[in-house]
Structure formats: structure tokens, C-alpha cells
Amino acid sequence: MARNKFDQDEVLESPFQWKHLKRAFQYIRRHRTQMLLALGLSILASIASLYTPKIMEWVLDEAVPNKDVQALLHWAVIFTVLIAISIVFTLIRSRIMAYVSQEIIYDIRKDLFHHLQKLPFSYYDSRPAGKILVRVINYVNSVSDILSNGIINSILEIINIAVIVVFMFSLDVTLASVIIAGLPIFIAIVWILKPRQRKAWQMQSNKNSNYNAYLAESIDGVRLSQIFARQEENCSIMKRLAEACRVAWMRAIYVSNAVWLSSETLTQIVFTFLYIAGVYWMGGKIVSFGVILAMGSYVSRFWQPITNLANIYNSFVNNIAYLERIFETMDEPVEVADAPGATQLPPLTGEVCFDHVNFGYEEGQTVLQDLNLHVRPGERIALVGPTGAGKSTVVNLLCRFYNLRGGKITLKCADGSEQDISQVTLESLRSQLGIMLQDSFIFSGDILSNIRYGRLDATEEEIIAASKAVCAHEFIDQMPMRYQTPVNERGSGLSQGQKQLIAFARTLLSDPKILILDEATSSIDTKTERLLQQGIEALLKGRTSFIIAHRLSTIKSCDRILFIGDGGILEAGNHEELMAKKGRYYELYTAQMQAA
């Protein structure tokens, strides 16, 4: 598995491709009506403002010399009305475009988040969380403007340029050619700068992502850093990362700003040549006074949109580095997905069958080999064995967190059918399983909402009942705000055992047909554990359960104990049978009893 560390740049797999643009265009296309409307309004607004110089001309050439105050007022009113119209059009356009740009980033973010929900554990396991986060939040924010206003403005500028070009050429072809002659040079400059610029911004986004990754990790692991008195070392790592950000940014800045610098310079050079050419021709009476004046003003009116375009292009190249990252994430393959035509899993009986199951987390690695297991409804199964033998893997496969390498797992349903877990929807599968994971994650919110996560429509009474069953009610009741006590990811005030109890209540509340407890009570004291076992006894009736535990005393009463090792089941039977067998389980059990 290719893993990534906070200070490693993520190599972008694909070179720049137009498909990114095409893809971005799909987000824009949903709003094409609004965007066309906005474009139309912009054009109308600029037509309205096009007339204003004309009016100024009339006023200064006719009304003023004639000392016609009446006409002056008359034109002033028309002028103001035109401006007002232009303002109203611009206003509507701004409002539309604000919606469009917000909708675009809303959609991109939604799709990105949606895809993240489908990605396999291995995706999350192989990179720092901060690198994923920065894509969802920061990168998406960055691309919004370029995909909305950036596009409209480029179209407007292109229209502008086209209009000016027509005007220029209709006026004087030679001088117009002089003005346009600068363009190939400019395009050449942009072309040369482009790869450097792209590389520089990619580098910058990489460094920024590294910075964020380390930041997130440092905040989450801050307690550890403090206890290990590691802060100074961490600060020097951060210094290195921040330094890399700064260097990458500055490198990008030097290149990026060269674009407008060259377009502004070229504008003036073109202007110079225009006048030299104009006056030279004028000497031969070729070009009229009015023409050269007009052409002079066209220089800036032609080159200004070009400069604007260059700026838009600039931020485009800058943001495409982010866009690539976003799409790259959306392209991450979904390993475990609903099969085509996957059906809803009907209510289960609790009967489970592992049929010649093979599995390894990575290519060439074998964790489970030819595992066969048949579990009757309501049976209580314990999985024991050395650390790392694959106990968790067995239940992970049942939940279909990973796809099998071979064989199949089937579940018996109440309607009599047998369903292969790879042929039913993930949602319908997992919602009938209750899995208590080794690490008990607490979401920020209150205790109530954390337990309710198991079943969203659970009433408060049901939540309290579940808490009572797992012996969590007592301590929750003693907290300052009881079930409303705010908690967060880091637990704030909850001990590890208490977090585990909350997670346990959450699992129980989901009312699963098959219950999976992976070291569910490892941090809980023996007495509470026993009380908990009594408390959930009634709840376990009629449910199939898989229990993974190291403390064998907690699983002694299970219907069947499976000793997992060497990629399969080495021993199976109830406690008495296995003890009589005097095999691996017997060794493990007696060792534990002696130790105590």
C-alpha cells in the first residue's frame, strides 16, 4: 500500500489534461441558463455604458459651445438613466453569479464528500487526514471564483477584444496590424511561462497540503507530544514545513507576476510603434489625425482585455492545481461498492456461512486461507488467538469492509433466501449488523447524540435503556449536564472505558440481528464488565454474536469458541470441549489463569 507521510509530496498521477476542464464544465453546465443570462446582462450593461462617451462628445461639442443649458440638462438626465440601467443590469448579474459560484462549490464539495464516504479504509489509512481535509475545504473554496466569474469575464473580454479588432481593422488595417503584432510575442511569453507556472503552483499546493497534514496531526496528537516533551522537535518540523510553503509560494509569485509585467510592457511598446508608424505615414499623408488619435485609444482598449485575460488565465493556472487534486480524489477507486443490481438485504435470521474464504490486505499477503464457518442463528461465537492472527479480519469481512480474495460469505434471511453479502447493498447489510470497533470514536456533540448515532430515530427512553444495559447510565447521570453533556473527538472528560461504554450503547441501540464485539470491553474493569454482561444478556437473546476478546473469562460461556491462527480456524468447540482437547486454547486459558 502506498502510504503517505506529512512531509512527502503527493505525486500527481496524470499530467494536465483537458478532461479536467471538461469535467469542471459539467458543474458549470448545470447553471448555463443563469450564466447565459448573466452574460447577456453584462453585454447590455456594457452597451449602455458604451453610449456614455458618445453623450459626453455631444455635450462638449454641441451643447456647451451653443451655451444650451436646456440641452445640457436634457443630456444629463439621459446620461444618468443610462448609468442607472447599467447599474441595475450589473446588480442582477452580480446576484446571479454569486448564486452560481456558490452553487458550483456547493456541488463540487457535495460530490467530493459523497465520494469520500465510499472510499475504502485503505484510502484513509494511507494518508494523513489533513491532506484529505484540505481538499474538501480549502481547495474547493479556491476554485469557486475562477469557475464562475472567471468564465463569464473571459467570455466578456473575448467579446471585447473581437469588437475592438473589428473597429480597428475597419479604421486602418496597417495600424491595426501594428497593434496586433504584439500579440504573438505575448502568447509566446505566456506559453514559455506556463509549464513553470503550473509546476510552481503544483509545488505550492503540495507544500500547503503537507503543512495542513502535519498541523492536523499535531493538534490531534498534542497530548502525546506534551507528555513526551516533544514540542521543540515538533516546532522545528513545522518550521521546515512552513519554510517549504514560503519558498514554494515565492517561486510561484516570481513566475506568475511576469505575465502582467510583460503584457503591460508590450502595451507601451505597441503604443510607441503605433505613433512612430502613424506619424511616419502621416508625413506621407496616409493616416488622418482623427485615425491616429482613435487608434491610440484602441491600443489600451485592445490590450486591457488581453491583460485581464492574462490575469484570469493566471489564477486559472493557479487554481487548476487545486482542481486536479479535487478530481484526483473523486477518481480514487471505490473498492467496496454495491454490485450492479445489488438488492436490499431482507431481514436476517442470523445464520452466517463462510465458504472457502481467502483474504489478504495486500497483494500476495495471506491473512485468511480457505476459511469455512457455519454459524447458526442466535449462536454466540468467540474468536480467540494470538494478536495479529486475523480475528478482526474475520468480522471485517463479514461487514464487507473489504472484498474477499476468494470464496463467499452468505447470510440466511427470514424469507428463506440465502444472500451473498457481495450481492446486496452495503447500507442494507451494515444496518443489520452491529459492529463495536476497537477504537471508540466520539463525535463532537452531546452524549445523547453520540449514542443515538446507532439508531437515528431512537427515543430518549430507548437511549437511556441501552445505556443502563451497558452500565453507562450511572456515570452519565453523574455528569454535570447528564446526557446533554458536551463531548468531542478527544473525549473531554471521558475516560477510555467510558468512551467504550458509550460506543457499546451506540452499537446495542442499533438493534442488530448480528452483533460483533471487537475487544468491546478491553478498557473496562472486570466488575463493570460482569455487570454489563448480565445487563446485555437479555438483549443478546435471539441475536447471533461474534465476540473477540483477550480475557478468556469473558467468553467462556460462548456457544462456540474458535481459535484463530495460521490463516484459519485451528480449534473449535465450547469451553469444556476445548479444555478437554488440551490444545492451543487449553494452553492459552491455563496460562491466563496462572498469570492471575
Binding site: S94, C235, S444, A595
Partner: protein
């Protein structure tokens, strides 16, 4: 404005020089914009109308030079500001990161990761934006506006006064709009932080999400945040658009006043047509800065909102820090004493009147029900929290008088919640002690019985393990965490439920190894299993924050209390008659 003063204070001397130089360039070059239009007028008068090509090249050369100098210095200006802003942000990142590293546990109990991330990324970026762009944009606008006004004033003070009339209106609008839009920016910043938190927790808790098939629920919850963020942006836009027509009208009024009132003034004979031409040609130099106003107000408010958030971090002081009279301890013996320690967390009593002593080299075990305060004892010893009353002493000296780095530098904690970093296995083990040789790292891994499985990983000790060590089993993580604690070569080794996910064989092996550590140390073991605690010199039973039993294994068994009961439960002995 306070945020600006703060930011200026954060920039170093060199950055100050750079910023001032850049702003001078900005002021001068914004005025230079007025030069070329005037030269064009000269060009028209003297070359074209006069049909005299002689001064042409001269004027063109001057114009080209003016332009080149202007754009060249503008480029320099941008480089100066970018450098200054990058250096300042670089410093801020370092300073704020250090602040975070040294903030106390309570701070992190209160602040969500997502919010802290927002401060350190998006909010800091607005500080960068302020230095690299906003300051010169303001100077540009002000100088262009004032410069033009002065130029106009020299030509016709009457007409200029009429133009200047809008200035107070402009100021009023600025004030009004700033006040109205500020709370919207604060709200938007909150929505951003909430969205960040939602995404961050979804990523961190992705296993739980999958396990409960809550993807749809998470998506809906995130979409709500996503939509709230969008709406908060739109609210700002709406507010802006309600002011936009007025600002735009005022900007355009520059042209209207110039042309029509100017025309009227010509009729009255107040000014000449030639003078009005200059007015009309340069009226953009008044209206453009006004058009910029809206953006500048928005950016300023956004900056102020973000800077305030960053300043909170910047000025935040941890409650737990080295006291000025902290004593220097070159070494630690490992003697621990809790004297009548009571501790409250959020008004709730967690520990009550705890007293015990451990001599150097001894082993203390703590056992007790979930939530009885076992880990809190460790937290107080490491001074993650300060006691509410009583004293915690190490080597006969109050931990509050120790230097934190020295105190913690001698502790080796194998924490209950195993947090691993996205680093190599070796990097994780040597986390607290980088001076270790590779050989030593392997030795400590061997003591923690981790060497064998580590060698089986794809790249052995150089295998990158993801954050939180996902991909490793619970027992494997615990052993790496133990090796990490051992690698500190601590004077006090703390094992907080370190062997709970280990099978008993492994546990016994590790216990045996711990008896022959290559360094002397006091040990504190927190455990639920009798096997983990029974060999300790002293065992404390903690219930509801109070010590209810204490003694050796044998003594406690005679006691027939909680310890005996646990012993009985774990050994399948009948419990009746016990103090249940």
C-alpha cells in the same frame, strides 16, 4: 484598527522596511498613472496637430520609460510585499504552532480540531492577503484619488469642490456598510469552521461511519453545513449588493459632475474647454478608487474577522506553564508523592483526597472501575492539569515548581488511547527521544515484544504507518506505544492499561522484560487484569475518585474487597460473601 496594529507588530524589522518601501512605490506609481495621459495630450498638441514629428521620439521615449519604470517598480513592489507577507506568515505559523504545542489540555478539551485548523489555514491566509494585497490597494486608491483631486484643484477649485462633495457621503457609506457587513463575516467564518469540523470528524471517524452505514446521514449533515456556509456567503453578497448601487452611482457621479457641471462652468466662463478635457480624461482616476471601495471594505472586514481569531490564539496563555521560580532539576530520582490531592473537572469532583507515596525504583499499580480517576492520577503527575487542592510531588518537589519540559522529559507514558503519527515505525518509537541509535530502537521494541511483528511488516522499521496506526491490530499498536514510552528511558514509566489488548503470553513476556530494564525507573501500572498488577510493590484501588484499598497482592486478597472480588471473577471463583 487593532488587527492591523497587531499584524504590524508581528512583522519583523526587515518586513517593515519592505512594506514601507513597497507602499512608497505604490503611492508614487499610482500618481505615475496620471503622467502618460498628460503626455498623450502633449503628443496630440505638439506632434499631430502641429504636424511636427520632431518631438515625437522624445515624448514616446519618455512615455515608454515612465511605463517601464512604473511596471518594473510595481513588480518590485509586489515581490517586496509578497516577501514581507510570506515572512510574516511564516513567523506566525511558527509562533502559533508553538502556542498550540504548549497550550494546556483544557484548551484542547474546549477547541475543536476543525476550528483550530481554520485559524491556522484560512484565517492566516487573510493575514497574508492583507500584507500582500490590501495595503497597497488602499494606498493606490487613496493616492490616485487625492492626487487627482489636487491636480484638479490647481485647475479649477470650484469644480473640484463640487466633485469633493461626494467624499463625506462616501465615508458615511463606508462606515454604515462596514458596520452592517461585519457580523455577516463573523457568521460566515463560523460556518466555515463548522463545515471544517464536520469534514474533519467524518474523516477521523470514517470507520464508525462505515460500521453504522451512516454515510447518508453524514452526507446530509455535511450538506447542511455546506449549505449554511453557502448561504452565509450569499448573505454577504446580498448586503453588498444593497450598497453597491449607491457606491456605483457615486463613482459615476464623478463623470456626470465633470461633464455636465463642467459644461455649465464653461458656459459661465469659469473654465476653458481645454481644462475640462483634462477633467474628463482623468475622471476615471476618481471613480475607479471609489469602485474599489466595496471590495476593500469586504476584504478589510474579512481580514479583521480572521485576524481576531488568530489573535485569540496568539495571545492565548496556557494556565499550566513554567513558574518564574521553577527549580532546575538536572535529573530525576523517581520518587512520587500525592498529598491530599483533590481534583475537579467542570465542577465535577474526579479525585478526592488522594495520598500515596512511591519510592524510586518501586512499582505502583492502580486499579479501579471505569471512570474512577485512574488516568487522572497520571494527568496530574504529568501536570496536564493542575490539582484543585493538595500537592503532587516528584523527588520531594511540587510538580508546579518543576520545569514542564524537565518533568515530562523524565516520564515515559504508554497511553491508553494509542495515538500514532503518520511516520515510520522507527520514527514513532523514537518519538520522544531522537538521539536513540537504530540498535536501541530495536532493543526497546524487543522489550515491548514488538520487534518480531515489525520485522514482518513490508519495510520493517521503515514501514510508514498511517495516523492512529490504522492497519495495525490493537495489540500491535499497544506494543509500539510501549516501545515508544521505553525509548524515553524515563525515570518514571507509566503504563496506562497498556496490555489490555495483548494475550497473556505476550503480557507475561513483557512483564519479564520490564524487570531488567537497562535504566532505573519507577513504574506506575494501571490495569484491569490481576495479572498486570499483582507483582507491584503497592496496589491502589480507586473507586469514585477515592482510594478504598491499598497494599500488596497478598494483603489485598486478605482484605476481601474490590481487589479480591476482581481476582475471584477473573479466576472463576465464587464471589458470594465478597464485598459486592
Amino acid at each position: 484598527m487593532q488587527p492591523i496594529r497587531w499584524l504590524w507588530g508581528c512583522a519583523d524589522k526587515k518586513s517593515h522596511v519592505r512594506i514601507i518601501a513597497a507602499l512608497v512605490i505604490s503611492a508614487v506609481t499610482s500618481l505615475m498613472l496620471l503622467v502618460n495621459p498628460s503626455l498623450t495630450a502633449t503628443l496630440v498638441d505638439e506632434v499631430i496637430i502641429a504636424e511636427n514629428p520632431e518631438p515625437l521620439l522624445g515624448i514616446l521615449a519618455v512615455m515608454l520609460i515612465v511605463k517601464l519604470v512604473r511596471e518594473g517598480t510595481r513588480y518590485l513592489m509586489i515581490v517586496l510585499l509578497e516577501t514581507a507577507s510570506q515572512n510574516t506568515v511564516y513567523d506566525l505559523r511558527r509562533i502559533l504552532f508553538a502556542k498550540l504545542q504548549f497550550q494546556d489540555t483544557r484548551f484542547f478539551d474546549r477547541n475543536r480540531t476543525g476550528d483550530l485548523m481554520t485559524r491556522m489555514s484560512a484565517d492566516l491566509d487573510w493575514c497574508r492577503h492583507f500584507i500582500s494585497y490590501m495595503d497597497y490597494a488602499v494606498v493606490d486608491c487613496v493616492f490616485m484619488f487625492l492626487g487627482t483631486l489636487i491636480l484638479f484643484f490647481c485647475i479649477s477649485w470650484k469644480l473640484t469642490l463640487c466633485l469633493a462633495v461626494v467624499t463625506p457621503i462616501l465615508m458615511l457609506i463606508t462606515k454604515l456598510y462596514s458596520g452592517k457587513v461585519r457580523p455577516l463575516f463573523v457568521a460566515m467564518r463560523e460556518r466555515l469552521s463548522e463545515m471544517n469540523t464536520a469534514a474533519q470528524e467524518n474523516i477521523a471517524g470514517n470507520r464508525v461511519v462505515r460500521a453504522f452505514a451512516r454515510e447518508k446521514y453524514e452526507e446530509e449533515a455535511f450538506e447542511r453545513r455546506n449549505a449554511a456556509f453557502r448561504d452565509s456567503q450569499l448573505a454577504i453578497n446580498k448586503m453588498w449588493l444593497s450598497f453597491y448601487p449607491f457606491i456605483e452611482l457615486l463613482a459615476n457621479s464623478m463623470t456626470v459632475i465633470t461633464v455636465f457641471l463642467g459644461g455649465f462652468f464653461i458656459i459661465l466662463g469659469e473654465i476653458t474647454p481645454g481644462e475640462l478635457t483634462i477633467f474628463t480624461q482623468l475622471s476615471w482616476a476618481l471613480s475607479n478608487p471609489m469602485r474599489q471601495l466595496g471590495n476593500l471594505i469586504n476584504d478589510t472586514q474579512r481580514f479583521a474577522t480572521s485576524a481576531t481569531k488568530v489573535m485569540e490564539l496568539y495571545y492565548g496563555r496556557p494556565h499550566i506553564a513554567d513558574r518564574s521560580d521553577a527549580v532546575d532539576h538536572a535529573d530525576m530520582q523517581g520518587a512520587i508523592a500525592f498529598k491530599n490531592v483533590t481534583f475537579h473537572f467542570d465542577r465535577q469532583e474526579v479525585l478526592h483526597d488522594i495520598s500515596f507515596e512511591v519510592k524510586p525504583g518501586q512499582t505502583l499499580a492502580i486499579m479501579g472501575p471505569t471512570g474512577s480517576g485512574k488516568t487522572t492520577v497520571i494527568n496530574l503527575l504529568a501536570r496536564c492539569y493542575d490539582v484543585s487542592s493538595g500537592v503532587v510531588e516528584v523527588d520531594g518537589c511540587d510538580v508546579k515548581s518543576w520545569k514542564l519540559q524537565q518533568l515530562r522529559g523524565h516520564l515515559g507514558v504508554a497511553t491508553q488511547d494509542v495515538f500514532l503519527f503518520s511516520d515510520t515505525v522507527e520514527g514513532n518509537i523514537a518519538f520522544g527521544n531522537q538521539s536513540l541509535t537504530e540498535e536501541q530502537v530495536h532493543d526497546y521494541a524487543r522489550i515491548a515484544d514488538a520487534d518480531e511483528f515489525i520485522r514482518k511488516l513490508s519495510d520493517g522499521y521503515d514501514t510508514l504507518i498511517g495516523e492512529r496506526g490504522v492497519g495495525l491490530s490493537g495489540g500491535q499498536k499497544q506494543r509500539i506505544a510501549l516501545a515508544r514510552a521505553l525509548a524515553m528511558e524515563p525515570r518514571i514509566l507509566i503504563m496506562d492499561d497498556t496490555t489490555s489488548a495483548l494475550d497473556s503470553e505476550t503480557e507475561r513476556y513483557i512483564q519479564e522484560q520490564l524487570r531488567h530494564l537497562p535504566f532505573p525507573c519507577t513504574k506506575i501500572i494501571i490495569g484491569q487484569r490481576i495479572s498486570a498488577v499483582k507483582d507491584a510493590d503497592q496496589i491502589l484501588i480507586l473507586q469514585d475518585g477515592k482510594i478504598t484499598e491499598r497494599g500488596t497482592h497478598e494483603e489485598l486478597l486478605k482484605n476481601r474487597g474490590y481487589y479480591w472480588e476482581t481476582y475471584a471473577l477473573q479466576n472463576d471463583l465464587p464471589v458470594e460473601g465478597g464485598a459486592a
